[in-house]
Amino acid sequence: MAVDMPLTSTAARGNHASGDSRPRRRRSGRIWVKLVLGLLLVVEIYPLLWMFLTSLKSNSDYLNNSTWSLPTTWEWGNYSEAWSTGHIGLYVRNSLLAVLPSLALILLLGTAAGFALQIMVWKGRSLTLLIFLAGIMVPSQMILLPLFTVYFQAGLSGTLWPLILTYTGTGLPLTVFMMATYYKTVPRELFEAATIDGAGILRAFWTISIPMVRNAILTVGLVQFFFIWNDLLIALTFTNNQDLRTIQVGLLNFTGDFGATQYGPLFAAICINVFGTLVIYLFLNQKVMKGLTGGAVKG
């Protein structure tokens, strides 16, 4: 269970790796590396640049001119078109209304469970952790149909509750596992010294342990945010009503609302979706990288 493949050791190693040992054929090596880097840069960046430029083209500009060309007129109106006529604004709102409550629930329940599994001492806790772990493996397809029946019979279809509940349930296994791992770094003795009874330990969980794992909560929260925000399968299953569509389902069905495909607004809608997550990544990339890769190394 080696989570936390330490990205922290990177800096230390990077320093003395570049110190001695110079490769002999350095110049030819350099050119080769530069070529690869250039290619990498083009492959990573150009699709997004192309997408952005195309989002500013008019329909005839897109259809009649070369795909490499700059927009002949810069149609910023494509964005407002996508936002209102294409209902992207509504879909973003729906996504937020589904993601934020799920995220809050996942983090609260998951942190408490991680604390109970790692800090508290009781029989059956390793079994309980295993039961949670099983949930990471099983494909979501296995739970969709029974949940559909339950939500339908409980009268929840037609609301965002099916999404919130399902996201919370499917987000818990990884969160519980990651939080339990993070709590390994917190010494148990701290809580023994600070508390004398059961009520005290709950208070200590909240006032002492939460500040200590604040960073971990932010990291796990980011991971779960991307998972839920980018989810298609669950959203597609439970949003049978057009007004409930999340951004991903809305984008998938985007062309439907215009009659003929309007390419500018379509690309604008893709851009809105992409640049939203990109802005978060721009500011928190180290945490995102640490969280996403940390969650992966769970074997």
Binding site: P6, T10, P173, D231, V274, Q286
Partner: protein, 294 residues
């Protein structure tokens, strides 16, 4: 000594809610879905018992065979592609960029966080042939080749899917594998160099064996994800042309929601789960065996 930390009421309050939600949303539905496999019908029309008919149908249904084959083919090719591209990038980071690699690592990682639907639609347009010649076909034309109708045949569409999913996640695996590579002590590499090992031989005989554990966990993680592929395919090809790029996940979804056959849908979901477990188990066993040998 652990009197306070063993307080039952506190434990129940801390873990109870998570366990309850997890059981209601995941554990119970899993078992319930198993029960659906023996029925016919759906939520709206009701369910009737169906014995093992869904299971015999599973073995006779050519669409299941096709979907299973596609799922495995896709998972194997994309897993190899993702991990290989990631490993090459990680080697680039460690041996050529060294201290300067942080920026490149961060840059190559970003496609991972992009919504798959958006990336799928983007790649659809990048590779399109009509109504507008997209950048990829324009590039082909520029070097004197004919445009390819990438989504016209299942064979071509498959490769667009592979390219897209490798593009999306190679930066992720690069960071994952990089963490394993930087842990190799510099002294080991240095003494191997003094013994005359360099380039490919250094990688083959020193770096590969030493980064084997993290390589294996990357493989397991990748195969587990690719077997469950859904978003990429729905956004890029929606299973087409025909059902040429339909994996088990999508076939299950269509059976359940397009044809309203929840019973058979559950049976396909069960097959998918079994395949995931089996493949992971096999990869895990192989990695264990080789580890003791090396």
């Amino acid at each position: 000594m652990h009197r306070v930390l063993g307080d039952r009421r506190a434990i129940a309050i801390l873990i109870g809610p998570a366990l309850l939600v997890y059981s209601l949303i995941m554990l119970i539905p899993m078992v319930w879905s198993l029960g659906y496999s023996f029925t016919k019908g759906n939520t709206i029309d009701g369910f009737t018992g169906n014995g093992v008919a869904n299971f015999t149908r599973l073995f006779d249904d050519p669409a299941v065979g096709d979907a299973l084959w596609f799922t495995l083919k896709y998972a194997v090719v994309v897993t190899i592609g993702q991990v290989l591209a990631g490993y090459l990038l990680a080697l680039l980071y460690v041996f050529f960029l060294k201290r300067a690699s942080a920026l490149v690592r961060t840059l190559a990682f970003f496609p991972v966080v992009l919504p798959t639907v958006a990336v799928g639609l983007l790649f659809q347009k990048l590779f399109q042939v009509a109504p507008q010649t997209g950048p990829v076909n324009s590039l082909l034309n520029a070097v004197g080749l004919e445009s390819i109708d990438w989504f016209g045949t299942a064979g071509h569409a498959f490769w667009v899917l592979v390219i897209m999913d490798v593009w999306r996640s190679m930066g992720f695996y690069a960071v994952l594998l990089f963490a394993g590579l930087v842990d190799i002590p510099e002294e080991v590499l240095e003494s191997a160099r003094l013994d005359g090992a360099s380039g490919l031989r250094l990688v083959r005989h020193i770096v590969m064996p030493l980064s084997f554990p993290v390589l294996m966990s990357s493989l397991i993680f990748s195969i587990n994800g690719t077997l469950k592929v859904f978003d990429s395919i729905v956004a890029l090809t929606n299973g087409g042309p025909g059902s040429g790029t339909t994996p088990l996940t999508l076939y299950m979804f269509q059976t359940s929601f397009t044809y309203s056959d929840y019973g058979y849908g559950s049976t396909i979901a069960l097959l998918l789960t079994v395949v995931c477990l089996l493949v992971t188990l096999v990869v895990f066993r192989i990695s264990r065996r080789d580890l003791t040998k090396g």
